[in-house]
Amino acid sequence: MVKKIMKMSGYGWAIAGVPIILATFMGMDFWAEGLVKATGVKVSPIYSGGEIARSIEHNGYRTLVREPVFASLVGQSAEGFVQIDWQKAEGGQLPPRLEEDLDLHGDARADCRVSLDTTVPKAAVLTPPPRFISLEKALPIKDGVIVRIRLHRQ
């Protein structure tokens, strides 16, 4: 009896192979979305730059200040970064050079001043924010420039 059940389940699972493959390809987007929803995973902020905390509109471009990232496997790391994006608005342009006061910590007060040459791109921190370590990088992206500033958590 047990042998028969094993045999039937074996054949059943083997026959399911084709429907599994068909369902995998035909419903790939559905499964992918389901997987993301069910697990709630996101791309690591180390790569994505973190959630957008504030958006400041300018003439022809916008500044996005992201949440500071202190990524760690468990808890938070002692050092991290905050990313700022300067993005062209639709039909707009980034100015070749800009200087901007930024509120990195979300207390409604500017705590940092950054200058940016958007053509190279090259950035400088004119007034360092609290817990400042260094300017990590300035990178060109399709519709603008991103800058990362390294910070201590405490």
Binding site: K7, T24, F25, D29, L35, V43, I46, Y47, S72, L73
Partner: protein, 393 residues
């Protein structure tokens, strides 16, 4: 009794009766037609319909030969290697069209433009479980090779095929499988069994290192296939060192050693994804079994197994080691027809033709749909080159 060899025209698993052959073949013909066209009308653009037609015919003719002759690996390797080489052509052309270069810049990473591949999956699991984030500079949904899409594909393939994915779906494995067939006889024959545990050690190391650094350590430092796909832009000593390592690993493990040993040395002695994928063999319904009543312990299967998955121990137990990729090479090579594809829960050697067919259908379908798209992709680029003088638009 004369022993059939791999050079024989057909094996005992051949389907010789015409109506049985048609019955076995027709469903695959219809399934591949449906899946390869996506159920849409065929484009009148020759750059689209010619690759589709060639790919459809190529896959279906070889599937017909698999059924008619009873040989599996003999035809699988042609499809598998073609898929891999055309994948490389298509992928590189696509990168150059998208980004102007094979080099992956920090900017591209910051914008999540890195295509995700199955090799990264094992190193993302611990960080995903603990931080609910994927440590990869790609995008989760939409676009080219999104993370969640590739994971869904991998789950489906693993449920159905187990590590058969490595012989019927991995677009990298076909490269070394192809190189391993270049010489008729191996120049290096003896490789110590202890080397076959190396992939598990590498798996453990890259999983722990990736979790500790929250970065895909395997992609950054050890992936040989970056040589023929995309590599980190070389702009400092660290990226130079990474480039040197990946080129050396590619040349050694994917080209030179497979030629000299006639084995898939990257898959069998190095690949951490392959080691991880071995565990999915426990889930799959299929395995390879040896009928001990027929086996004469000639060792031919262990000699030809490309992934070191058969040895005296496993043969005496009537099966393979955990790392078996279900390529079917041992089944083709056995002079006594003692080895067969097997459905778990059934007796060894029971209905070998049925068991083979039940495995071949999902495995081949996966290869035809997944690999077929890559073959079309590569052919499209070649046709574009022939018609316009450039592989990119």
């Amino acid at each position: 009794m004369s022993a059939p060899t791999t050079a024989a025209l057909s094996s005992a698993l051949a389907i010789r009766t015409p109506w049985k052959l048609i019955l076995a073949y027709l469903p695959m013909l219809l399934l591949t037609a449906m899946m390869m066209t996506g159920g849409r009308p065929i484009s009148p653009d020759p750059l689209e319909w010619i690759p589709l037609a060639i790919s459809f015919l190529f896959f279906n003719i070889l599937f017909f030969l698999m059924l008619r002759t009873g040989f599996t690996d003999r035809y699988r390797v042609i499809l598998f290697s073609t898929m891999a080489f055309l994948f490389v052509i298509g992928f590189i052309a696509n990168l150059i069209e998208m980004r102007g270069s094979m080099a992956l810049s920090e900017s591209a990473m910051a914008q999540g433009e890195t295509p995700f591949c199955h090799m990264v999956i094992p190193v993302t699991l611990i960080p995903a479980a603990l931080t609910r984030t994927i440590i990869f500079p790609g995008h989760l949904l939409g676009g080219f090779a999104p993370i969640a899409g590739m994971v869904a594909l991998w789950i489906g393939a693993s449920l159905a095929l187990g590590r058969g994915f490595c012989s019927w779906g991995c677009f990298y494995g076909g490269l070394e499988d192809g190189f391993s067939r270049l010489l008729k006889k191996p120049l290096i024959r003896r490789i110590g069994r202890h080397w076959t545990y190396l992939p598990y050690a590498i798996l453990l190391a890259v999983v722990l290192l990736s979790a500790a650094t929250l970065s895909p350590a395997y992609c950054e430092w050890l992936c040989p296939f970056k040589t023929v796909t995309e590599y980190n832009e070389v702009n400092n000593f660290r990226t130079l060192l990474q480039a040197v390592i990946m080129v050396a690993l590619f040349a050694g493990l994917v080209v030179v050693l497979p030629i000299l040993t006639r084995k898939r040395t990257q898959c069998g002695l190095f690949c951490p994804f392959g080691a991880f994928q071995s565990f999915t063999n426990k889930v799959s319904a299929y395995d390879i079994r040896i009928d001990r009543t027929k086996c004469v312990d000639c060792g031919k299967c262990a000699q030809v197994c490309p992934t070191f998955s058969m040895d005296a121990d496993s043969i005496s137990r009537g099966g393979t080691r955990l790392s078996c990729c279900r390529c079917g090479k041992c089944v083709d090579a056995c002079p006594k027809q003692a080895i067969s594809f097997h459905i778990k829960g059934t007796e060894a050697g029971a209905s070998p033709k049925w068991s083979r067919l039940l495995f071949l259908y999902p495995a081949f379908l996966f290869l035809a749909v997944f690999g077929g798209s890559m073959v079309q992709w590569g052919l499209y680029r070649i046709l574009l080159l022939l018609s316009t003088g450039s592989m990119v638009k």
